[in-house]
Symmetry: C2
Amino acid sequence: MRIAIDAMGGDLGPAAVIGGVAAFLRDDTDTEIAMVGREEILGPELRRHGLGSHPRVSVRPASQVIEMDEKLSAIRQKQDASVLRTVELVRDGQADAAVLVGNTAAAVAASQLRLRLVEGAHRAGIAVPLPSKSGNTVVIDMGANTSPKIEHYVDYAIMASIYVEEVLGKPRPRVGLINVGEESGKGDELLREAYSRLEQAPINFIGNVEGGDIYRGTCDVAVCDGLVGNAILKSSEAAAELMVSFLKEELSRSLRRRLGALLCKGAFRDLWRRCDYAEFGGAPLLGVNGVVIKGHGRSDARAVRNAIRVARDAAARGVTRKIRERLASLVPARGGPAEAQGVSGHG
Amino acid sequence: MRIAIDAMGGDLGPAAVIGGVAAFLRDDTDTEIAMVGREEILGPELRRHGLGSHPRVSVRPASQVIEMDEKLSAIRQKQDASVLRTVELVRDGQADAAVLVGNTAAAVAASQLRLRLVEGAHRAGIAVPLPSKSGNTVVIDMGANTSPKIEHYVDYAIMASIYVEEVLGKPRPRVGLINVGEESGKGDELLREAYSRLEQAPINFIGNVEGGDIYRGTCDVAVCDGLVGNAILKSSEAAAELMVSFLKEELSRSLRRRLGALLCKGAFRDLWRRCDYAEFGGAPLLGVNGVVIKGHGRSDARAVRNAIRVARDAAARGVTRKIRERLASLVPARGGPAEAQGVSGHG
């Protein structure tokens, strides 16, 4: 198995990415890693992490970087950008999966441009597994597509169902449509139409759900537009951080509480691990011809390590091929072959 | 000050509402409460709470109830519904504010039908104060309007700014537009247009924000459509509940942790109080001619008590009049008088 990584992306820079690679390689015995980026930066950093002459680590040059705050149009000017070079390795059969940590819009655009959409898919979507009472719920889309069309909702539901079945190992995942209430007939026209199309799709559709159902685990896949998905992810992360900061304040208010906190230290650490986004490590971009795992922009070494694991597992289980087969089998039922679509520059 | 309450609504029924009234009256010495609903149910329940002959509590009859899971069309069939009768007391000058605990869509529709929109407002929106590092952030809209138009975003920003200034006491509240990233130019056409209109509006607009900014307190008002607002509220509530349930599990894993938890008990209680939606108690429906406070559907007695307090304070500070004056002063600048609009049946 060969994984290509954009080593230049992310808020924390190459050091975090390389730290993640080092951590990954400690447990993995046969995956090869291609680090894509500026050799003059990556070389010294790899040596610092003891990976300077690791037999399964190579550096692939890319002279440009798309920064976190750059606009999508940068991708047209920077043809030697590390994010493009990384997905090109997948396109050219030199890697089995790509891990992209950095600018989300650039990651989505680079993947759609270089890998193209799977036949039958109308748009790629980012699927993020979040913790729930029953394990995980995968939310799709998480910011690739702020104005989905009806057919995108259907694609997302089918693709995420396959991902949950194959990679997370849950048969017949329950799919919900995020809406303002559970009753059918809720929401605007687009959501009502999406509801009726999802009812006919070859998935285990359980109807409308609300944001709370994600964490309660009453569905395994939650389908929404990218604005809603991004709002859910970012707000619940911040809500959890706020709770932790309130908890720290409350625990420091008295000697008794400080003593209790000392005894509970292990419990707090385990709690945080169960809630931490970094533990889930990576979100697949579903719908492109190849495995692409998007890491969180703020990914630390642990998150990068986990993203590489997710990439390896998704590639090993043939997720892209299964999505292609499932969508292809639906083409007649879905009203003719899907039109080829370019990148639409969202998110 | 006179407050009218729909005593029949809410998942927890009249007992929770009356419990909240009883708690409110213990601290308040001059507010009068009109309970609206079925006399045969409210009478015995009031007596059970020792309010059977309270000089400041009265019952106003309404023979029908719109249940939590009923469709909006029920409001046309049930002209004697408690939610309609409650807002009618405000319309007729018999109450200074209404507290509605129950079906959100029915509460919004009843208020828009009976109170009409404030002159200059294009649509009512539900504003919900959420806890943040800097106190509170008010999110608008929280489910009244799933397909806002440009002018609704502007109305929401102005109305919520006035609410935050007048009732929460923060001068020049910072207003953010919820988007998929902070840079201008993010999101679809509607969001980009809303951004440029908010830049010109007489508010302290700080640009795009993400869901996380709500809890980090980097803005005081966050404007979004009702689907996004509902998703944020419901998902972060459930994320907090999940954390609490994980924490309980972790704390019970060993004797050491159980002992620590015992010492920390007060800290956990205080933490929960700081995060609990019920503490904020009520969300104003802004844009209608009268103070309407929407309680959470699952409101317990404490949430009801707090919603009544919010209603009293909003009425005392003349929020509706101030919104009317501010919007009226903008009419020429906003391109002619606003058109009268009816209820559009969202949410």
